[in-house]
């Protein structure tokens, strides 16, 4: 073999071996260069701009010419109670999402396994996958067409039953539930795929043996299918915990983002940052909140990875 095997000791001095390594792998390095340049340009280059969180940003003076104000931008959002409200909403929504998402995905996957007709299974799987493929803009329009009080589908039915129409776009209270439902509607087809694959991976002989031993349908689920899904569930839940301060921005924004009556009840960190950046051009506040979110997210992912590494080293990210 001509290539260097990194496991074997290389009989050169350290600098010599590095030079030789570089020379031998020059083509492979060059093949990575476009991606490296890309990530420098779009992921690393914005990092110094985080400094805008510590200045009173002035468009003319630029980020690094604007007056330094220390942690004032953080103080401002923290003292108004805004930061706590945003954090609470973001985390609560994500906790509900990750529990219900996985519960429903497991239920769908288990029931899907029970369906014997292949064509029924295929057609229903395809139907459940549709919401995954459409843009969040269309999701916003779909929900509006179902729920608006003038022409919405729900109110057409209510009117038909002689009931009063619901003015859901006039009050914020029901939106936590609506957003959660829409989120489940959109993600379940996709989420159940992983669990369905895991169930299909269970040795058929094990299930058969349990049935010969007289296990009924519920016992089969309780003692064979669920335990064999446990590692997948635990790992997916843990990684979802790592992303618990990141929001499903596209969904929230397209459902309620342009309606202050609605979003005040369900405001999440990303919506606040987006409004502060795009509508208010308040880059310093936006960046302060964004940095706070990034730091918490970073710490969470590192902690989750440490835990995963302990219980299931194969699944750890790094």
């Amino acid at each position: 073999m001509t290539a260097i095997n990194p496991k074997k000791p290389v009989p050169y001095s350290v600098s010599g071996s590095l030079r030789k390594k570089l020379w031998n792998s020059k083509t492979l390095i060059l093949m990575c260069v476009p991606a490296i340049i890309y990530f420098i340009a779009f992921s690393y280059a914005p990092l110094p701009g985080i400094y805008v969180a510590f200045v009173n940003y002035n468009y003319r003076k630029g980020i690094f010419g604007s007056p330094f104000v220390g942690l004032k931008n953080f103080d401002f959002v923290a003292k108004s109670g805004k930061l706590w409200m945003l954090t609470k909403n973001t985390i609560l929504f994500n906790l509900v999402f990750l529990l219900l998402d996985n519960a429903l995905a497991v239920i769908v996957a288990i029931l899907m396994k029970e369906i014997q007709s292949k064509s029924f299974r295929k057609v229903s799987q395809t139907m459940m996958f549709l919401p995954y493929f459409i843009s969040q803009v269309l999701v916003g329009l779909l929900v509006f067409s179902l729920l608006n009080s003038d022409t919405g589908f729900l109110n057409v039915i209510l009117k038909g039953l002689g009931a009063e129409p619901l003015r859901l776009y006039k009050t914020g209270e029901p939106w936590p539930f609506i957003i959660t439902l829409v989120h489940l509607w959109q993600k379940t087809g996709y989420n159940s795929v992983v669990y369905f694959a895991a169930i299909m991976g269970i040795d058929a002989a094990v299930i058969e043996a349990s049935m010969i031993d007289g296990a009924n349908g519920w016992q089969k689920i309780r003692y064979i299918i669920l335990p064999s899904l446990r590692p997948t569930i635990v790992i997916l839940l843990l990684f979802a915990l790592g992303g618990i301060v990141k929001g499903d921005f596209g969904l929230f924004w397209n459902l309620v983002g342009r309606n202050p009556t609605l979003y005040q009840k369900v405001d999440i960190i990303e919506m606040f940052v987006y409004r502060a950046t795009v509508s208010d051009f308040n880059f310093s506040t936006a960046s302060a909140v964004g940095l706070y979110q990034s730091l918490i997210g970073f710490i969470l992912v590192l902690s989750v990875n440490t835990i995963v590494k302990k219980i299931e080293p194969d699944y750890s990210l790094f």
Binding site: S25, M31, F39, S43, V108, T126, I134, T151, F283
Partner: protein, 307 residues
């Protein structure tokens, strides 16, 4: 074992007797899955039905699955307005260029990073992976794109940010791992360089990975509205989904979307126009996704958890 009825032939566990609860669960399965699957497509059918309904009927009776009086007026208006075709062309061009270049870079990088004889693979992998662990956030990114790169009102602001992601490179790396390492070795023995090996030996073997990553990229470009909402606010020709976004959210955009000479503003069929535009911007996806969904499923199961 007792022999039972025909449906045993379809049973994965066919030789064992099913208990009553098996049939109960199976029944629940059919009912629940049917209802959920219908719920998943019902909103689309409502949009579709309403897009063929007259504006008067929508105002009077609301949205509908089956139009009371069938009309294609809203579609004619969108088509006559003319500007939707430039949006289509723009979206197709962005999707083709972005997916093409992005796919090539992801494949090249993914292959290099799984080569066990590449001494810098861990360092470069981490360099790329770190970008998904810690981000600068929206405001610094927005300032960089507009003040430093001057990409405000440039289609590059949509084309570039969607081109590569660390997740897609990792996905491609996992696909490339399944190409036997011996092929690379035999290429080396024949005296081929690494790039030659990648292009002529590995790339043809990577087809499932290319299809999966390419489809994720293409879907991302087709459904893009976010970068557009940041950087393309004042452009005349907009990507399809951002066009839909503006028509749904801004009354003025709705008026601008149809040529003024065909309709006076007072009798503009607002609701059916939104529905028709929604169907036209999403149509290609609805027709194509049943044929390509297996690649997405492959992507989910290959790249689900493991980085």
């Amino acid at each position: 074992m007792a022999k039972h009825r025909d449906d045993d032939m379809l049973d994965s566990v066919s030789k064992v007797k099913l208990t009553a609860s098996d049939y109960v669960i199976r029944g629940i399965g059919y009912v629940f899955i049917s209802l959920f699957a219908i719920a998943c497509i019902l909103p689309f059918l409502i949009i579709l039905g309403t897009s063929f309904e007259t504006e008067d009927n929508i105002i009077t009776y609301g949205v509908t699955l089956l139009p009371r009086s069938f009309t294609t007026a809203a579609y004619e208006l969108v088509i006559k307005g003319g500007t939707i075709w430039s949006s289509y062309l723009l979206t197709i061009i962005l999707t083709l260029i972005g997916t093409g270049i992005g796919l090539f870079i992801c494949a090249m990088t993914g292959y290099a990073l799984q080569r066990r004889d590449f001494p810098f693979r861990n360092a470069i992998s981490f360099f790329i992976y770190f970008t998904s662990l810690f981000q600068a956030g929206l405001a610094p990114y927005y300032l960089l794109m507009t003040q430093t790169y001057h990409l405000n009102n440039s289609y590059l602001a949509v084309l570039l940010p969607l081109m590569i992601s660390s997740w897609l490179i990792i996905l491609m790396k996992n696909f490339a791992k399944s190409v036997p390492h011996e092929l690379t070795e035999s290429g080396k023995i024949d005296g081929a360089g690494d790039f030659k090996i990648f292009m002529s030996i590995v790339l043809p073997m990577l087809k499932p990975g290319l299809a999966t990553v390419g489809l994720f990229l293409a879907l991302g470009y087709w459904n893009e509205w976010y970068q557009s909402s940041l950087f393309l606010q004042n452009m005349d020709v907009l990507p399809l989904q951002y066009r839909l976004y503006k028509i749904v959210n801004e009354a003025q955009s709705l008026k601008n979307s149809v040529a003024a000479q065909y309709v006076t503003v007072s009798n503009l069929p607002t609701e059916s126009l939104k529905m028709a535009t929604a169907m036209m911007t999403t149509g290609p996806i609805i027709f194509l996704y049943p044929f390509v969904q297996r690649y997405f499923i492959g992507g989910i199961t290959v790249g689900a958890v493991k980085g």
